[in-house]
Symmetry: C2
Subunit: 226 residues, 2 copies
DNA sequence: ATGTAGATGTGATATAAATCACATTTTTAT
DNA sequence: ATAAAAATGTGATTTATATCACATCTACAT
């Protein structure tokens, strides 16, 4: 689909810093594509030939591990998907899959590189983006590796509630099986944790995945205690 | 100590791209400092006021977790230490501590920013550096979260041997306790794993931490099997 | 509607690894 | 040199979580 970058309301902070003629160039080197739930946006092992920008929707970033698929993080629009995998190597080291209906801009790598070369503010903003993302990842890795399961699940639910959906009630964006691989645990153990949290009246979870946090204070405590 | 950036043999790939006048600026905005084993280079929670570049030596990057200290990675010179923690926030999110005698350049943040603004090749190289580092971190994290202890230890030893020291024989750069926190396990369990690997004749480990890999093929197998 | 495949809940059991408890060794300080 | 502190090795025990086994349940295709 032909994009309209000039008047796009979902421009990245970096793209906001592009000059008019650069925006024109962007527009000519950008393809906007819709993805339905479950569709692959880019796949591990294929060539990374475009910068991928999530304009709308929710996406999971995941990679093959020794045991199976590992979800590394969720990305909510607006966000660049996989700058590291595009710049870090010729080949993608991880995959991106739409969790909800999503809109994605594929930007020519050459055009994007030229922005970095020619527009220092743009380059600086991209660097800031990479750095902030990596800090958040470190934090999550550290917590994931030191907390045990109840703490990891509590933390995940708080993250969904506080950052992703900004609400105490939301629909679980992932299946139990996916949640399990996100928090590095078995499906059965995660299922049991949810049962336990429901039994204790800390959350309410309906058959159709609508989750309500009833006692955020308790979740905070469980998350903090590991 | 007054640095001599112009003729420095340990310049980063990015700094190699600076123009002569920029190198002069770098030289005027750079302080070179030596650290002994165990000394803190920068600490989590303090203000990140400088770009930190490791010219010589070996450094651990670590952060406080819910349980205790978590080692995130080892950095061997030459490498930027903590670009993410410098650009990502005003305050350091993690610490850097010298593992061996090290030499570090502290570069003024403003000067560094100006290089990004004015020199696109420099900016691009920094972006590449950030991306490659993050890819490696993802890979390590996925392995860490899916393999069990024997696999994690085997992988770590192979990493030391293949990348860090490029030799089958080396001195363990970390104490058993530190190794344990690196691979997210208890000190006792790690100690037992080393005993077991020695018993099986896969490694030889002397009282003074000199380690020799006798059966790399076996380590590869253990690492691959998780 | 009916069947089939995939996702989920839950009890029973197995197991990896933590924890506890201590002896020993090594390092550091005085 | 000697004491104190820290790091390490190893057996016994406990514990969190994986695995196994199966019963639902849900979704989708025919």
């Amino acid at each position: 689909m032909k994009p309209d970058c000039k008047f796009c309301k979902m421009k990245s902070p970096a793209a906001e810093l592009l000059k008019p003629d650069e925006i024109d160039t962007l527009e000519q080197n950008c393809a906007q594509v819709k993805f339905s739930k479950g569709e692959t946006i880019f796949r591990e092992g294929t060539f990374a030939t475009n910068i991928v920008y999530l304009r709308l929707g929710l996406v999971k970033i995941h990679m093959k591990g020794p045991i199976g698929e590992k979800i590394l993080r969720l990305n909510k629009a607006p966000a660049y998907l996989g700058l590291p995998t595009t710049f870090g190597d010729r080949v993608n080291h991880y995959s991106a899959t739409a969790i909800t209906e999503s809109e994605v801009c594929f930007i020519s790598l050459d055009a994007f590189k030229n922005f970095i070369y020619s527009n220092g503010n743009f380059a600086y903003e991209i660097i800031m983006d990479l750095c902030r993302t990596e800090l958040a990842d470190f934090q999550r890795f550290t917590n994931l590796s030191q907390k045990q399961l109840p703490g990891r699940i509590a933390e995940l639910l708080l993250c969904f509630s506080n950052h992703l959906f900004k609400s105490n009630a939301f629909e679980l964006p992932l299946s139990i099986t996916e949640l399990a691989n996100f928090v590095s645990a078995s499906r059965e153990s995660v299922s049991r944790q949810f049962s336990e949290l429901s039994r204790l009246g800390i959350i309410e979870l309906t058959h159709d995945k609508k989750l309500t946090i009833l006692r955020k204070d308790m979740l905070d405590k469980i998350s903090a205690n590991g």
